[in-house]
Symmetry: C2
Subunit: 215 residues, 2 copies
């Protein structure tokens, strides 16, 4: 018998650099709007210029970085005006994902989603760091999208979530912990009771709170 092929991890220099830069951007170390100067980064990570440029180009395609001709790359800084369209796309993905998820599981959402919500509730009960709350919150929505079992929707959603996180990282939202918890318990109930459209209002709510937090 043949055992299942277990591919070992081999990362090229570009790929490794890509992951590092992505992580640095997503955790806020490379702040939105900040310039990504080639010489600095090549020295810091000890890679050749072309290697760095390849990584930057991928990040640009991902939407995490903006490249302007002859002016270099900088971490993408979303303007408030761009949030609306971004949330429209998010709505498109997440509503359809929840529809698929419900259809796949006979009108209910799978245990993974329920667990994610329970975890969010548990986190909110204490007095956690905000980063822990956002992580748990993102898990909930990610669990919903994953439950759809549609890899393409999931991939698109992940890219979007990363882009949004770059924006969110620079501000403190204004949700209270108990409200965050309750809101998502309600969402879950509504989704299973009245279908995917329950997400629409929920996401709109999220946009409003983000807009308020960004003054």
């Amino acid at each position: 018998m043949t055992t299942a092929p277990e591919p070992i991890e081999r990362v090229s220099a570009v790929e490794a650099l890509l992951r590092i830069l992505r992580a640095r951007i997503l955790d806020g170390e490379l702040a939105p709007g900040s310039r990504l100067v080639e010489r600095e980064l090549t020295e810091r990570f000890d890679v050749a210029r072309h290697t760095l440029r390849a990584a930057l180009r991928s990040l640009a395609a991902e939407g995490l970085v903006v490249i302007e001709p002859d002016r270099g790359a900088r971490v993408k800084a979303l303007a408030a005006a761009e949030l609306g369209p971004l949330f429209e796309l998010r709505t498109a993905l997440e509503v359809e994902a929840s529809r698929l998820a419900l259809a796949r599981h006979g009108g209910r959402l799978p245990a993974t989603v329920h667990q994610a919500v329970q975890h969010l509730v548990a986190v909110c009960a204490g007095s956690p760091a905000w980063s822990a709350v956002t992580a748990a919150h993102d898990d909930v929505h990610h669990a919903i999208v994953t439950a759809a079992g549609s890899p393409r929707i999931e991939a698109a959603y992940d890219a979007l979530a990363a882009e949004l996180q770059v924006f969110l990282i620079q501000m403190r939202p204004e949700w209270s912990m108990p409200r965050m918890a309750k809101h998502h318990q309600t969402l879950l109930r509504d989704l299973e009771a009245s279908g995917p459209d329950a997400l629409r209002a929920h996401i709109a709510d999220g946009l409003q709170s983000v807009l308020r937090a960004s003054h």
Copy 2:
């Protein structure tokens, strides 16, 4: 008085190459699955190797090209099994787009969409080349998405449409012209009468016909 600043078009070598390669892929000259050997392409377009590699990397991020480490790039060839997930994403985008479009125009679709359908009907009436039919057909769906006025949904849809075209280019679908025309007139009526969900069945139909055509 100052005239409105009109930025002139300045394309870098990478950008120019990117456009050429994209066009070659989308019109089928570079067939799905075919290898993109660096030496060949650099000689053909007289660019440096790194310039080409940068363009390929962007195309990979777009989904038109697949890059495997140490094995180079090839034009992406979609397997039939990947069509389902791709159409799920397409459904997510187009259904939400049509919802926004209807909301923006008081429950109707704007003239651009009606014109696009009329054009498709006119094209189908003759005995046109298949490429003319697909072009007119793509215009209809693109008009619907554009009518939503959501740049992010539109961008995602365009990327998807390009990816799908790479797949479709290699086969002759089996829609009859009159059926194509009638089907979209019905779609338009249903959209305005009963809302965005009318698209769901329409897209599912499209997937079925593609799957049948691909044996």
